[in-house]
């Protein structure tokens, strides 16, 4: 039987136009052999959750450099849960102070990558932790 392809979504919630990092990641995931849905900037958590379900992705990677991650990241997890899609893993990255990590982990974010994290380490995390649906 053919292997299941990993599908991921890279999304930028909130009022944040700094998408260089998100684009680099999208490209890196493509090169890792994933199918990558990229939704662009300025997305509401509602848009991100709806798109993740429509696209049947295994993983949503959120990127936020504006400081609003404490509100926006947990909201995405919550919405997916409400829509019966808690099997979709949510990870995050960006400018995230260490003191916020526990709040994010408690809200259901499964991994956090901050500046300095290598692309390989992120791909490796996905390959280890994500089993396609």
């Amino acid at each position: 039987m053919p292997e299941r392809k990993i599908r991921v979504m890279v999304a930028k919630p909130g009022l944040d136009g700094h998408d260089r990092g998100a684009r680099v990641l999208a490209r890196c995931f493509r090169d890792a052999g994933f199918e990558v849905v990229y939704t662009g900037c300025h997305q509401t958590p509602e848009q991100i959750a709806a798109a993740a379900i429509q696209e049947d992705v295994d993983l949503v990677g959120l990127s936020c450099l504006s400081g609003a991650h404490r509100l926006l990241f947990p909201r995405v997890v919550e919405l997916l849960r409400e829509k019966g899609a808690s099997d979709i893993t949510v990870i995050g990255g960006g400018i995230i102070p260490e003191q916020d990590f526990s709040l994010l982990y408690d809200s259901g974010i499964k991994a956090i990558f901050t500046p300095g994290a290598s692309l390989d380490s992120i791909v490796e995390w996905i390959k280890t932790n994500i089993k396609p649906h």
């Binding site: 392809k5 199918e35 798109a51």
Partner: protein
């Protein structure tokens, strides 16, 4: 009715998207589900949007969604982007242009990667359309991968095909060429605010003056669409596009051509299903036993030629039929 099928027919996005994925991943159970679902398909109107990379297909698809939603039509969108021949990965970026509809329950956008298909769509596209039809979508828009001159599989799936062109892509000879230029039911000259748009319109007009399709009853209209960053005129232009597509739909219904196209689609579906049925098991069996590799080696070393190999394989797999 099977519980999953029942939910999909009731519009369940989660299950529908999962089934589309099972089709893409060639999970055997998916075929059985499509068989059960097939009776509920065939009622949607299918619009194909095709053209070169960056011509504006996704932006126009977004604008069409807006127009059609005003008429309360429910919409499914299949947006195809290319798979890397090297890594198997893909960037599916068509959705970016359509995200303002993400929360509208009347719109379901699903991205597909080509996964090696060369006709502008993916192998799963046909069945993905069936899934959206079963969901009861009034209209399904299929946006092809960015194409060149010849990737025209869309004609086997869509009822109306919109070919999106932009100025500056060559001289009049380009409009005379076979393939893409012949499949349009509606032409769009997009980015018509740019230099060369009038010229392109004239070239298309003179090409259409000699077209047998035009003489046979439907002359593909040419819709000029201006700068997407000028919202007022852009909305006016895209409303005209929606109008022309609807006119084509009515023409298809009244002229009986719709039946003709549905028939062509059915023929293509037999072709696809048959090649999947015959070819895939043969290839996977040969690959599994390692024979495929040794055949390739023989051909590489010029110990055999591909035709003899194909005949040998055919003999082996289809012996019984051969003896009749």
């Amino acid at each position: 009715m099977d519980a999953t099928i029942k939910k999909i027919c009731g519009g369940d996005v989660r299950l529908a998207s999962r089934l589309i994925r099972d089709i893409e991943d060639k999970i055997p159970e998916a075929k059985a589900k499509i068989k059960k679902l097939y009776a509920y398909t065939g009622k949607s109107f299918i619009i194909g949007i095709t053209g070169a990379p960056g011509a504006g297909k996704s932006t126009l698809t977004d604008a069409l969604i807006t127009e059609l939603r005003k008429k309360n039509k429910t919409i499914g969108v299949l947006a195809v982007d290319p798979t890397s021949p090297f890594t198997g990965g893909a960037i599916l970026g068509d959705r970016i242009r359509m995200q303002r509809h993400a929360e509208d329950p009347g719109v379901f956008v699903r991205s597909l990667a080509t996964r090696g298909a060369l006709g502008g769509l993916s192998q799963a596209a046909g069945d993905a359309i069936h899934v959206m039809e079963a969901m009861g979508k009034d209209i399904i828009i299929v946006e092809t991968v960015g194409i060149g001159q010849q990737e025209i599989d869309i004609i086997n799936h869509a009822h109306s095909v919109v070919v999106v062109l932009v100025p500056g892509m060559g001289d009049e000879i380009q409009t005379m060429k076979a393939g893409l230029m012949e499949i349009a039911d509606v032409f769009v000259v997009n980015k018509a605010n740019r230099a060369g748009a009038k010229q392109l319109q004239m070239e298309l007009t003179s090409m259409l003056n000699l077209s047998s399709k035009a003489a046979a009853g439907w002359r593909p209209p040419i819709v000029m669409i201006g700068d997407a960053f000028e919202p007022a005129t852009f909305a006016e232009n895209t409303a005209e596009l929606a109008q022309k597509i609807e006119e084509h739909h009515i023409y298809l219904q009244q002229s009986g051509k719709l039946t003709e196209r549905m028939h062509r689609k059915a023929m293509a579906e037999i072709n696809d299903a048959l090649s999947a049925c015959l070819l895939e098991p043969v290839l996977s069996s040969l690959a599994g036993s390692g024979e495929l590799e040794s055949f390739a080696e023989k051909i590489r070393n010029r110990k055999a030629d591909p035709y003899s190999v194909a005949e040998e394989i055919t003999q082996k797999f289809f012996k019984k039929q051969g003896k009749k």
